[in-house]
Each structure stands twice: as C-alpha cells, then as structure tokens.
C-alpha cells in the first residue's frame, strides 16, 4: 500500500520494488507485504520504523539477496532500470545495488583498508590498473585515502563503517542500501558517515537508502522519508510532508526529530515552516518572539540558581575513582580521573568512542588494572581481576546483553547466580518479583533465545538485579534500539530506581534520551574528565562537547545558537521549552512561574 504524495514509480527511477511480499521459511506471517518503492539516482531515502517491522528484510530484497541467499517465498518484482534483481547472482546484483550491513566488523574480511576495498574488484578479475583506480576513487570519496594501509582492526567505528561503504562502492553500484549504519557510532562518527553518503548522492549521483532509527541525524540529509509498520510502507513522502502530521508517527511509536516536535509544539515560532535541522530552526526563529522568551526564561533560571548553595561533593560516595590512570601498551586510555558518585545518584558518562568510558566503568568490577590510582566501592578498594567478588556489589550490564545469557530457560537465567553464590538476604528483587516486574509471567520455561532483543536485555538486567548490587552500571544499553524500545527501557530504568533506589551509572551515546534523563553528566575526552555537572548545564557547553566528539541534544544546540555561547544552562526537552516560552510570551504570566523559571517537567517527556 502506498500513501498519497509519495514518489511515483516510473521508468526513470533506477531501483523499483513493485508489490513485493516476502515470508521467511516456516514463518507464520509475512515480513514484507505489498511493498512499492522507487529510488532514483542521487536520491537519499530514509527508511524507518519499529524493530521487526521488516526494514532489514526490505534492504535485502532491494539488494537481490532475497531469495538467492535468504530463503522464503517472494512475490512481486525488484528491478533496476527494468532488469529484475531477484534472479541475479549476488555478485551481479551488487554491481547495481550494494548493501552495507549493520555491523562493520562482520563486513571487513581483509586486514588492511585497501585490501578490503580491493577485494570486490579482485574477485571480478579486473585488470590491476582498473582495480587500483577503483580503490583510489572509493577511498577518496569516503575520505579514507589517508588510512589505506591501516589495519582494519585498529579503525574507529566511523572509519570501519566508511571502509565498509568504500568496499561496497568498489563494486560500482548505482544504489547503496545501508542497514542501520549509525547504530554503533558516536555522533561525530555518524556525521562522518552521513557526510560521505551525502557527497556520494550529490556528486556521484548514487541513490542512497538509509535504514535507521536515529532520525534526528539523518533527517536533514534525506530527500524522502519512508515509514514502515508490520511489513508495509505506511508513509513515503518528502521529510517536511512526512512529519507534517505527527499522529501517524506517534500511533506507531516511531521517533520524530526533536526540532520537528518543537515546531509542532510552537507552530508560530518558526514562521510556519517545519525545520528539519537545528540550523534551519535557528534561521527561522532568530528574528521572532522565541529568542526574547528563551532569554527571559534563562535569566529567571540564573536568578534562581544564584540563590542556591553550590552542590556539595558526596561525603561517602558509593563509587569513587581517585587519580585513576589506565595504560594499554603505550596508549593512555584513562588519564588521572577523579570522580565520586553518591548513593542513589543517576550519572551518565558520555564521550566519543575510545574516550575511556567503558574502561573506567569496567574498573568498578575489577575488569582491567589501573596503572595508577584507586577505585573504591563504599570506601573499600576494588581489587583488579576479582570480578566474581565485585560483581556482587556492582551489577554491570554489557552492551552485548546476549553474551550474558547462559541458560536454557528464563527461570534458569534468573536463578543462575544463586547456583554459584548464596542468595543475599536483601536482594534488590527476588526471583518471583523479577518475573513479575520484567514481564516474564508465563514465560518462565521459555528459552531466552525465543525472546525479542529487548526481552533478552530485560532478562539480563533482571538476572543482575536478583543479587544485591549497590550500583547498576549500564554500558550502552540503548544502542541500535528504536524509539519505542528506548522509551520502554527508560521507563523500566526509572521504575527500577523508584522501587529500589539503586545508584545508576550509564555509559551512552544516546544523548537525546538516556543522557538527558540522568541527573548528572560526566563528559570524557581523551581519557580525562572534561565536564561534570547537571545535564542542563553540561549540554549548554556545545562547543566543548563538540571538541570531545559529542553533539549536544538538538534542542540544547538550538537554545545555545539562539542565546549565544555564554548560555549557562538549557532546557532539555521539547515539552519544557514549549511550556516555558509559552509562559513568557504572555504578559503577566511570567510572574506566576516557579522560582526556577521552569515549569514542572511534563510526565512522559522524552
């Protein structure tokens, strides 16, 4: 089914899917249902939707990997320039439509960047000058020419993804399909990849299909937005039209860019236009009432702040790092870090990939050895290597939660720890409570591998909380998750905190969701603590964040752009901004505001 306003399928479009339906072997329901989609040369198409809605299946169908490599029942036609892709061998289809998979680590087969890029042309038995020309061109357009002899294992996430793109481009495809290319990347790495894709579309005329949950970052670049639900395309329009009506998105539970939400909340603040990026929002709002209203609100907050005493350091921190440094061979991963986290705090640790976040949090359970300094839990030193001992105090949920599941049933997972260690007298949750709290009632005997990805993550979290940890450490818990799952996870985390009062430390790139909810933000850059304070103040330092490879949330950047670099703090959610500026634009209402100058946080903000 297609929606009004979408790009018509015509002969001029290069890649065309016509009435495509697909069901995996043995599946009760179809993964794709009557898909009609067209991608023209030089066009950038953003495909989004909830996890499991069929996006990745669509990507494989568009690339001709269905049904040749992914088996099932395929109906309809996928063609490129009128030529059917479905029957072509993968190496021929990939010279028309190339696919970049989600995890770059699984796509880099060779050892060096140039040998990876050359792999495809070598397989085509092209002459050496042609192979060299293709490699040079691909490395040039992906800005990887300076790293051609680098080992692929030493690359950053963004560089790996760009290498995977270069290797796919070496097959000279006319359309590039990317399945969640940003999921493992920090914001700077994501911008590198998006910049590359934009250049490819604009300068080389390559059609680009980006399947992604992170719509905020892709929205400014996209020519069209496709929304999928239950294997169908329910919306296919240019971005401004696609997001003109938020109800459809809200109904499905898919995230909308923050600036779009703000424009809907304050329709007259942006001259009636729908901005897609912070820059567009700034240029639309610079000359109207929004700036004075934000200025007044900021001044009121500053006045309220001046009456407060400065925050005190925790006297008896639950976790502390005292002048901690960690060296890996000749590289200093953590450099003289001193931090303390008080009982019951929620702290988010942010920073670019490789800034030392995971190293620092790993030390809290004895993973790794500091080359200098001391890590303490409730005043007692954490002994390196004694993971079993410290895991009883600090529950660490790894990013790869799947790697933390070892049993055959849900109940087996929840009782796993108690087989090897006596159950604590005062667990955060009993096994029974965990079953009810995490929604596993009736699923006790089900295999963990039959649960969804979110379910497996909940199970791993529940299993950790069945002990008696004093601190919960979460390493990138929302990576690669759609907006609905992120929201669900945030609600779950808040419910856990409300029920248990646990201290929570999260390592995250999810600046918009997870980090903005934390009471305190610690920014790491090159192994050092660069900023440490409330989220509203840290996210006002947009330049400093950028220097550390982090982009502040779009609403924070908008406020700093409008109010100037001297801005001391920012409002963190669309709802807060809308309520605040609406209050200040109406004469006489401002006097009735609370002393903080910020109305109470609206329930369900995100």
């Amino acid at each position: 089914m297609r929606c009004g306003g979408s790009t018509p399928i015509s002969g001029s479009s290069d890649l065309v899917a016509q009435d495509v339906s697909f069901a995996y072997v043995g599946a009760a329901t179809a993964a794709l249902r009557h898909i009609d989609l067209a991608v023209a040369a030089g066009e950038v198409v953003l495909v989004t939707g909830l996890s499991g809605c069929g996006k990745s299946t669509l990507a494989m169908a568009l690339c001709g990997l269905i049904p040749s490599r992914v088996h099932g029942e395929l109906r309809g036609r996928v063609t490129f320039g009128g030529r059917p892709l479905s029957g072509l061998p993968p190496h021929e289809a990939s010279q028309l439509v190339g696919m970049v998979f989600q995890n770059p680590n699984l796509q880099l087969i060779n050892h060096t960047v140039q040998s990876e890029v050359a792999f495809g042309p070598e397989n085509l038995a092209l002459p050496q000058p042609e192979i060299a020309a293709r490699v040079n061109w691909c490395l040039e357009v992906t800005s990887m020419a300076g790293m051609r002899t680098a080992s692929t294992v030493t690359l950053s996430g963004g560089q790996k993804q760009r290498t995977a793109i270069a290797a796919t481009l070496a097959m000279r495809p006319r359309v590039l399909v990317l399945d969640e290319p940003l999921s493992d990347l920090d914001p700077v790495g994501a911008q590198e990849v998006l910049g590359t894709l934009r250049r490819l579309a604009r300068d080389e005329g390559t059609g680009v299909v980006i399947i992604e949950h992170r719509v905020d970052e892709v929205a400014p670049w996209a020519d069209r937005v496709v929304l999928m639900d239950g294997g169908r395309i329910v919306l296919d329009q240019p971005p401004r039209l696609a997001w003109a009506d938020q109800d459809k998105w809200a109904g499905i539970g898919v995230g909308v860019p923050d600036v779009v939400r703000l424009a809907h909340a304050l329709p007259d603040a942006f001259d009636g236009r729908l901005p897609l990026s912070v820059d567009e929002a700034v240029s639309a709002a610079r000359e109207n009432w929004l700036v004075p209203a934000l200025t007044q609100a900021a001044a009121a907050r500053a006045t309220a702040r001046s009456g407060l005493s400065p925050p005190k350091c925790a006297a008896d921190p639950v976790l502390s790092w005292e002048h901690v440094s960690v060296d890996f061979d000749a590289t200093r991963a953590v450099d003289d870090v001193s931090l303390a986290i008080a009982e019951g705090e929620w702290v988010a640790m942010i920073g670019a990939n490789g800034s030392g976040k995971s190293t620092l949090t790993g030390l809290t359970v004895g993973l790794g050895t500091p080359s200098a300094g001391q890590v303490r839990f409730r005043g007692k030193p954490v002994r390196p290597g004694k993971v079993f001992e410290h895991a009883a105090q600090v529950a660490l949920l790894l990013q790869a939660a799947d790697e933390m599941l070892f049993e055959e049933t849900v109940i087996g997972e929840l009782s796993f720890g108690s087989k090897f260690r006596a159950l604590p007298p005062d667990p955060v949750l009993t096994i029974e409570e965990a079953i009810a709290f995490f929604g596993f009632r009736g699923l006790e005997q089900v295999s963990p591998w039959q649960l969804s990805q979110g379910g497996r993550q909940r199970l791993a979290l529940g299993a950790l909380l069945v002990g008696a940890p004093g601190v919960l450490v979460l390493d990138e818990p929302t990576t690669g998750q759609d907006a609905e799952r992120m929201r669900a996870f945030l609600h779950l985390l808040e419910a856990v905190r409300a029920r248990t009062g646990l201290t929570v430390l999260t390592v995250t790139h999810d600046i918009r969701g997870l980090a903005s909810r934390a009471a305190r933000i610690v920014l790491l850059g090159e192994g050092k603590v660069r900023l440490d304070g409330p989220a509203s103040e840290v996210f006002a330092r947009t330049e400093q964040l950028r220097r550390c490879g982090v982009l502040a949330p779009p609403v924070a950047r908008l406020q700093v752009e409008l109010l100037g670099p001297a801005t001391k703090d920012v409002l963190l959610s669309v709802e807060e901004i809308a309520a605040t500026v609406n209050a200040y634009r109406q004469p006489g209402v401002a006097a009735g505001l609370p002393a903080s100058g910020v109305p109470a946080r609206t329930a369900g903000t995100s």
Partner: protein, 315 residues
C-alpha cells in the same frame, strides 16, 4: 631414613614441578589475550614485510623439509637458523613475551619429560637418581642425555612453529591469497585462510568477553594462589563447567556472524570467476632472489649431506 625422605621430596619436586608450573605460566603470561596476539599481523616497514609473498609461503615449507630429513644432531642448528629472521622483524614487546613463553614452554616440557623417561643404553649416568619411593612411577632418574634429546625433539617441532609464526605476523592476509593464486591453488584456499586469520583474533576477543560476562553473572572463575594447591582442582572443575556454559552464546554469536560474512563475500563477487585480479603487483627484488637462493642452498645442502649419510636420519 631422613636422607631417603629428603631425596624423595627432591625427586617429587623434579617430577611434578614442570607440569604444575607450565599451566600457570601459560595462564599468567599468555592466556586468551596472548593467543590473539600470536596470530595478529603487525604492519611494519621491515625487509621481511617487503619480501615476495611466494617466498614467504615457501620458507616454512623449506625449513620443515630440513627438520624432517636431518637427524636429531642438526635440529638445534636448524632451529637456530629459524630464529635469525625474527631479529629483522623486530616484533612488539607483547608479541615477544608471548612468543618466548610459547617457545620456552614446549622446550621445558621436552627437556623435562625426555630427561625423565628417555634412557640411553647402559651404563646410564644420572644427574639425579630417584629413590625407590618414586621410581615406581616409571622413571629411575633424570639424565643429561635424555634432556638433550628432549631439546632436540622440541626444536624439531618448534622449527615449523617459529617459521609459520614469523610469516603470520609479517604477511598481510591478502598477500597470502595472492601467493596461493600464483601457485595455482583454488581461491577458496586463500579466502579460507584470510577469513580464519582475520576473524580468529575476533573470536578470541569474543571468548574473553563471554568469560567476563559469566563472571559478571556470578560464576566464580577467580584463580587460587599458586600455594593454594587444594583449591586448584576445584578451579579446574569450574573452568571445565564454564566451557560448557559459554558454548551457547559463542555458538549463537558466531553463526549470526558467519551468515552476514557469507552474504558480504557473495555480494563482493567472491567465486564469481575462477581467476582473481590483484591490487598488488609484486616484482622480484634482489632481496627476494637472495631469499630464494638461501632456501635452495639450505635444502640442497641438506639433501647432499643426506646422500653422503651426514646428518641423515636412520630409516
């Protein structure tokens, strides 16, 4: 009686020290991380890195031939020859540490085991003769003859290990593929080797991650101290049980990965043609020619010596 007691104690130390120390040394200084180090290519600008890949593939084969056709008396010399190229390679400190353990470990094992159990024809000169309280285990004592023989045996094995490792750490996997193709071998052989070498370090990393995860879930993998002898058995039992538990996540993760990798290889046209092209063009240099000459001279000399029954193995 006290003399017998002391001699028995010393004998027990001689017999059991090595098998107890070796696993500890391996776990402490090598471990899974060290194994990953061992098979990882190090990109450097050394003469060895620039050699013709075909020559590098032939080098372990040629040295292997020497270790097979020459007798025990020549083994330490052949092993010494296989060590020399490492000085040109200048490997990283971490790699040297692992390599030393991987050489010293088997060396010590051969030295010790043959010293105890390989007995020359009588009269036997013992370095230390065991009392009856331990000789019932099968070894009457430790002999210098046996120890030297153990070293020679180990050297024979280590020649292949040393030469193969040298090539692994100094050769880009793409060059291996190129060399195999020039030897008219099917591209699948080169690809299988490429994929194995590329993903083996990843697999080791994932195994380490899963072992960490199981500890985080409350499984005790903490090692007892060396003197807590009574706890070592329990530790070994826990490690064995853990291997069973970690198999599922490792297997699931690996299968997921291989499916993607296979699709990537297909999409990049692997197997589309019988012959492949190559980005690299290797031209023979004077150093390559020198290398070929050295290999031919070494193997040729060994064959000639064999012909004259010098250093020949008795058959």
């Amino acid at each position: 009686m006290s003399s017998l007691l002391a001699r028995t104690a010393i004998a027990y130390v001689i017999v059991f020290a090595v098998p107890m120390i070796l696993p500890v040394i391996f776990i402490k200084f090598v471990g899974l991380g060290g194994l990953r180090e061992l098979v990882t290519y190090e990109a450097r600008d050394t003469p060895l890195h620039k050699l013709d890949p075909r020559l590098k593939v032939l080098y372990p084969i040629a040295m292997g031939v020497l270790s097979i056709i020459l007798n025990w008396d020549f083994m330490l010399i052949v092993f010494g020859l296989s060590i020399i190229p490492w000085f040109w390679l200048r490997p990283s400190r971490a790699k040297i540490r692992v390599l030393m353990i991987m050489v010293i470990g088997p060396g010590l094992t051969g030295f010790w085991s043959q010293g105890l159990y390989y007995l020359p024809s009588p009269p036997i000169h013992y370095i230390y003769q065991f009392p009856w309280t331990i000789s019932w285990l099968g070894s009457p004592g430790i002999t210098a003859y046996g120890m030297v023989f153990g070293l020679q045996q180990t050297a024979r094995v280590l020649v292949t290990v040393s030469t193969s490792m040298l090539i692994l750490v100094s050769t880009d996997v793409g060059d291996f593929t190129w060399a195999f193709e020039r030897f008219r071998m099917p591209p699948q052989v080169g690809f299988a080797l490429t994929a194995a070498l590329r993903f083996l370090p990843d697999m080791i990393s994932r195994t380490m991650l899963v072992f960490r995860a199981i500890e985080l879930r409350g499984y005790d993998l903490s090692r007892p101290r060396w003197y807590q002898v009574g706890q070592w058995w329990d530790y070994a039992r826990r490690v064995c049980r853990c291997v069973v538990l970690v198999t599922v996540p490792l297997l699931v993760g690996s299968l997921r990965g291989t499916t993607t990798m296979a699709m990537v290889a297909d999409a990049r046209g692997f197997g589309a043609n019988k012959r492949r092209g190559s980005l690299q063009e290797h031209h023979l240099t004077a150093v390559d020619v020198g290398g070929y000459v050295v290999l031919v001279v070494l193997v040729g000399t060994a064959i000639v010596l064999n012909h004259f029954h010098i250093g020949a193995r008795p058959y």
